[in-house]
Symmetry: C2
Subunit: 242 residues, 2 copies
DNA sequence: CGTGGATTTGAGAGAAATCAAATCATGTGG
DNA sequence: CCACATGATTTGATTTCTCTCAAATCCACG
């Protein structure tokens, strides 16, 4: 078939990990159940006990927590090839929601299958562990982003991060990428108000740093934008490791 | 000897994981090198490539990032029994500093030894993986804390979290625990100014929720404090798993 | 008993939130 | 094809929380 579900996973996982032929083979042999979703669907709920993991094949997802007083904080954005709830393999209860940002093609992999894969292929287990650690590294950077940067820098940082992450999986080039996200959702990522997001985006446009046309983002001056966002990509750990 | 270095690790790891006799045995057999440090020492630097992991045996550590303009954000606090840089086993380059908050007794475990342990004892590997996932869960909650809560709630949340984490390792009881931390350091945890930390602490005292006597914290009304901080402990995943 | 770090207090400034309304798209049904 | 509904973006005015700056006080320690 032209593009099995595991292709997205392989493309993404090999950005940060070296796999041998047998590892790849084992991943290809995973039985993955395809499911299509609309946008803004909660795929896994906070408090749930999943028995499978969710692979993003096409589209974008995010993870979010909602506070008691109804505010929402988006914790991470997820691009094709990622398994946002891989943690559920070892953490019984979900401590946040996993939600589709756009219409998605998802692949569901039973925990059992992943556990068999992990014990049969220690190298794959290490790679998956590594993916969850990179996840954590991004969380750390987001703490800094939300805690210590101005609205302008925060937005610049987020856009710079997304550009890098999309580029390595071939979904951004020349600073241009498609990401259907509303300003309210950006606000939930950056812990600011929608109004402020709007003004920050205007400022970035005025400075000639970005162009946004519906869901098409274009970073016109990546070095300037990365400088403004104090962006240093080494936390993304995008270098393959054995 | 009364209390080997691995005891702290075992006590902590069994809070969230079930280990069998052979697992415990294997952990006890780890060769761990003891080192004493003073307070505020950077043990592992951002950008470094560690070849060993650092176990907190006694004292407190924290992880932090420093932005280009010199601001510091503390990313996590670490209590005895934790291995704050366990991630370095799979992530070559440090993306933050690991620092002692107080004088510490540390135990250094070579990566090689940990890798042997992981392949010999898959159950221990899963437990360690799980520890890094709990780490990530705490990062997520900190994103929410810093991003979405007021100064007062932020402090209440942090204190509630620490109380829980210290209690399960027997270092807090009745809401009282020892934590030698300055208001400036609390500010770096909570992404606020020292002045504001001071005022928030005064407010909590005025409300009769806490008492602070040098490094002795006493949470006088834990339910109220947890409510104020919107604290829900399920993200700590303190229930043992196979 | 002096000294330096930590805490506390006061006053003013600023970044961003909130509130409210207008404008702009997009898609639908008559 | 246009009136209408809906959601997203934009704009303006006001408020609020928190920061910054500065100085005073407190406290442990040599």
């Amino acid at each position: 078939m032209a593009g099995s579900l595991s292709d997205a996973l392989l493309r993404k996982i090999t950005v940060s990990n070296k796999l041998d032929g047998k590892d790849v083979e084992a991943i290809r042999n995973l039985s993955i159940e395809r499911r299509m979703t609309g946008p803004r669907e909660i795929v896994v709920h906070d408090g749930e006990r999943p028995t499978q993991c969710c692979l993003v094949v096409e589209g974008f997802m995010f993870r979010a927590k909602t506070t008691f007083d109804g505010q929402r904080q988006i914790l991470s954005l997820h691009v094709p090839g990622e398994i946002p709830d891989l943690q559920s393999l070892h953490l019984r209860i979900m401590d946040h929601d996993l939600v589709t940002l756009t219409s998605c093609t998802l692949g569901f992999i039973p925990h059992e299958a992943l556990k068999r894969l992990n014990s049969a292929r220690p190298n794959v287990a290490a790679a998956l562990w590594r993916e969850t650690l990179i996840d954590a590294a991004i969380f750390r950077e987001w703490i800094v982003n939300v805690g210590r940067r101005t609205g302008l820098a925060r937005m610049a940082h987020l856009l710079s991060e997304l550009r890098r992450r999309l580029e390595v999986i071939g979904r951004a080039s020349d600073g241009a990428f498609r990401l259907p996200i509303t300003q309210a959702e950006l606000a939930d990522c950056l812990a600011m108000s929608t109004v402020h997001v709007n003004r920050v985006l205007q400022e970035l446009r005025r400075e000639g740093l970005i162009e946004v046309e519906r869901s098409a983002f274009h970073l016109l001056n990546q070095p300037k934008l990365e400088e403004l966002g104090q962006f240093d990509p080494h936390y993304l750990h995008q270098t393959p490791v054995s």
